[in-house]
Amino acid sequence: MTESFQTPSATSIAAGVRDGSQSAADVIDAAIGAVEAREGELNAYNLVLADDARTAAAAIDQKIAAGETVGPLAGVPVAIKDNMCTTGVATTCSSKILEGWVPPYSATVVERLAAAGAVMVGKTNLDEFAMGSSTENSAFGPSKNPHDITKVPGGSSGGSAATVGAGAVPVSLGSDTGGSIRQPASLCGVVGVKPTYGMVSRYGLIAFASSLDQIGPFTTTVADAALVLEVIGGHDPRDSTSIPEPMPNLTEALGKGVDGLRIGIISELSGDPSLGSVEGIAPDVAARAAAAAAALEAAGASIEHVSIPSSVHGLPAYYLIAPAEASSNLARYDGVRYGLRSDGPNALAMNAASRTEGFGEEVKRRIMLGTYALTSGYYDAYYGQAQKVRTLMIDEFNAHYQNFDLLLSPTSPTTAFELDAKTADPMTMYVNDVCTIPSNLTGQPAMSVPFGVGDDGMPVGVQVLAPMMGEATMFRAAAVLEEAARV
C-alpha cells in the first residue's frame, strides 16, 4: 500500500516559516521525504536536488534568525519542469539530445521563485520537449498518475502535476503550449494555470512553440496559484513578448465571488450533441462541467450556453502552427555546441546523425510536420491558413467577451487514461487537447480547477477561460468552484 501525503499549502508554509513557527529545513525535509517515497512508482522527477534544497532551506532559516526579510514563498518547496533553465543544474527537456548540458543561466521564473524564498527540490519529467499529452514521450520513461499508477498523469507537464497531485510539494511550475499545464492538472486533481501570453517571462524556458508557450503554476489551492503567479509574473525586459504592464493583484480578487458575473458555457465543448458539441467529451466529465456551471450560478453568476464555432477549428490550426515553430526552435540541437553529438563524415551528416539518435519519435514527427507546413509552395495552404484561423479565433473570442466575463468548459475530454492506451495512434492523443488549445491560440488565460471525480473515481477538472489579462476575474470564479467542490 502506497504511503499518502498531503502537503500544507504554500500560503500556510510561508506564513509559518516567516513567523518562525516552523523552519524551512523541516519543511524541505518533509517534502524531500515525500518526493523520494513516491518517486519509485511515479517517476515524476528527472533530478531530485535534495542536497541543494537543504542548503537553500538552511540559508532561509539563517536569514530569518538574523532578522532579515524573506519573500512571500519563504521555505516553500517547488518543483520545476525540466524545460526551464537552472544555473548549474542539468536541464534535459526529457530528451537524449540535451544529454550532459548544464545551463549557465536560470530562467526568469526560477530567479523570481528563488528571490521570493521558494526552494527548488527537483526538475520534473515531461514529454520530450513538451510534445505530448501523457508524459509517455520522455527519454527517461513515463511518469504515473499519483491517484492510480496504472494511468497517465497527463502531459506534457506530467511530472510537475504528479508531484503536486501526490501531495509531495505544494507548488510546481509547468509550461503550457496546447494544454500542457491544464490537462495534467485536471488528470491529477490539482489547480493549473495557463496565464495570459506575455504575463510570465519565457526567458529561460526551452522553446517548443514560441508564440504559444506560457509558464504557469500547479498548486493544491487556488490561493496558492494566485500567490505563485504574482511572484513569477510581471514584465521582463529579457522577453520581447512580455507584456509591459503591472501584474494584476490576484490574491485580492480571490474572495470577491462571482455575483453578477456573466459566464458562458462553450456549446462546442459541452459534450451535448444537441448543442453541437464535438464528439469525445465523456459524459461523466460533461456532467462535472455542468455541475460547476450550476455552482457558479448558485453563487450569483448568470450562466448561458454560447456557440463559438472557431473553438473546434483550433486543433488543426494548432497542429500546424506549433510544429512549424518547433521545427525551427529545435534546429539548434545539431551536435555542434552542446548535448549529444554522433559521428558523421562532415558537418551536415554529423547534424543528421545527432538528431536521428537524440530525438524521440514524437519530436521527429512534429519536426517533419512543421518543416512540411513551412515549405515554400505549401506555406499559404498550411501555416498561412492556420494563422488565419488563429486570427479568426481571436476575433470571435474577443467578440464573445463583450457579452461574457468568463467562459467555461471541461479541461480534458476524459479522466486519466491507461498507460500505453493512446501511444499507438498519435491522432487520438492529439484530440485530448481540443478543450485547451483555443486559449493558447488566442493568448488568453485559462485555468483548470479540480471539480470532483469521474465514474472511475479519477479527478475531473473544469476549465475557466478569461479575456487577455483577465486573471483577476478568472481567479474569482476558480475560488468559488474550489469552495463548491469541497462540499
Binding site: 526551464m84 533553465c85 536541464t91 527537456c93 540535451l98 548540458w101 545551463p103 549557465p104 543561466y105 530562467a107 519565457r202 526567458y203 529561460g204 524556458l205 526551452i206 522553446a207 512553440a209 514560441s210 508564440s211 525586459p237 529579457r238 522577453d239 520581447s240 513578448t241 512549424a324 515553430e325 521545427s327 525551427s328 534546429a331 539548434r332 540541437y333 545539431d334 555542434v336 555546441r337 552542446y338 558537418a347 551536415l348 547534424n351 518543416t371 513551412l374 515549405t375 515554400s376 506555406y379 501555416y383
Partner: protein
Amino acid sequence: MSEQTANTTPGAVAADLPEGWEIVIGLEVHVELNTATKLFCGCPNSFGDEPNTNVCPTCLGLPGSLPVLNDRAVESAMRLGRALNCDVNSSVFSRKNYFYPDQPKDYQVSQYDLPTNTEGHITLADGTRIGIERAHIEEDAGKLNHGGGDGRIHGADYSMADYNRAGVPLVEIVSHPELRSAADARAYVSELRSIVTAVDVSDAKMEEGSMRVDANVSVRPIGSDELRTRCEVKNINSLRSLERAINFEARRHVDLYDNGERPKQETRHWDEEAGRSRSGRSKEDAEDYRYFPEPDLVPLVVTDDDITRLDASLPTMPSARRAQLGEKSGASNDDINLLIERGQDGFALETIDAGADAKRVVVHLINNLSEGHGQLTAASFAAMIRMETGGDLSSTQAKEVLAEMVASGGDPAAIASAKGFEAMDGGELESILDGIIAENPDEWQRFCDGDDKEKKKMQGMFTGQIMKATKGQADGAAVAKLLAQKSAS
C-alpha cells in the same frame, strides 16, 4: 519596356565583352553596423578579439535564450534607409532556416516580406540612378576556421567555430538589376560606401569584411529586356575583385551561349588568385529557407514622426558634397572622391572659405594630411597656405609647419619663426646662386646654351645645389624664377 533597360548607359558595356552583348548586374551588399553591442543581446560588437569571448546565451543560441532588439541598430538601419532614399516601413523579423555550424540557432533572424527599407536609389558620380529594391536588417553568423586541408570546409580535418561575430547587426542592401558594367558596379559600391560612412553607421571596409559584396551577373543581347539565368558570385574582397569577377563571369556566360550552352543558376566563388569563379552550390539543390515571422520578437512600428526625426538627423549626402567641393575647388573628380571618401571635404571647404588657395588646400589634404588633420584648424590651415602662396614659406617648410600644427596645433607664423624659417629675400638667394655659378662655370654655360634636355638636367643640378646651400629653405618657385631671369640676362 522594362525598368531594367531604361537605365542602360551607352558605352558602359565592358570592353572585353563581344559586340552585341550587355551585362546585367544586381548587387547584394552586406554592411556591418558599428553599434556598440550586437543586434539581439548586450555583447560587444567588436572585431579581432579572442575567439568566443564576446558571447552570451542569446548569441550562442543556447536553449531558452531570447532575443531583445537593439534600438540603436534599428535607428542606424533606418537612417541608412533614408540616406538611400528608401521608404522606411513598419517591419517584421522573420526566421531564415538552414543548417550550418556558424549559425548558432540554425536559423538566421532576418527580414523577409516586410523589410524595414524598400525602393530607394543611389545616384552615381556620373548621374546614373540605380534602384534599390530593399535594405533589410539581419544578424550576422559566426566564423568557421578550418584546420588541416587547404583552409576550406571541404577536405578540412576539423573546423573551429568562433561566435564573436554571431548576432552582429547587418543591413543587406539589394539593388535592382540595373547595373550594366563592372565599372558601374564599382562606382555603385564606392558611392554606397561613401553614403554609409557619411551617415556613420559602419566602417564599410571590404578588406575587413565589414562590407561584403555579392554580385548577381547575367548577360543578354543588347536591345533585349529579358533577364537571363544569373549566377551569384561571392567571395569578392575588393573593388578590383568586383570588376574582375563581373567581367569574368559575363565573359563565361557569353562563351557558354556562343557554344550553344546556357549557364545554370548557381552560387559561384571568386578566386582572386586564379582570376576565375568556381562553381559552388547549385540553386537546383538550394535549400528552402522556410521563412516565417520570428515569434520571439514583436513587429517594429515606424511612425511619421520617426521619419521626420531620421531625416533631420541626416548629414549632407556625398553627391551633394561632391558637387559643392567641385564648384569651390576646381579639383579633379578623383581628388574630390578621395577627399569625400576620407571625410575631408568639409574641412577643405571650410579652409577655402577662410581664404586659402583652393588648389593648395586640396594638394595638402591629399598628400600631407592623409592621416587626418589632428589639431589643425581650418583658420590656421588657411593662414599657413597664405604664407606659402605669399612666398613666406617654401613648400618643404610648409610641410614641416603643417606637421607641427597637426601634432600640436598653434599659429603657423610662430611655428615658422621658431623653426628659423625666415623668408629668404631675392638678394640673398641671388648671392648664393652667384657663388654656385662661380664654382661651376661650365655647367652654367650648358644651362644657358644647352638644348631643352640639357637645360632641364642642369636646372635640376643648380636647384639641388641651392637647396643644399639653404638647407632646403629656399622656395622652389623663387629659385626657378631666379634661374630663368639670370640665364636670360
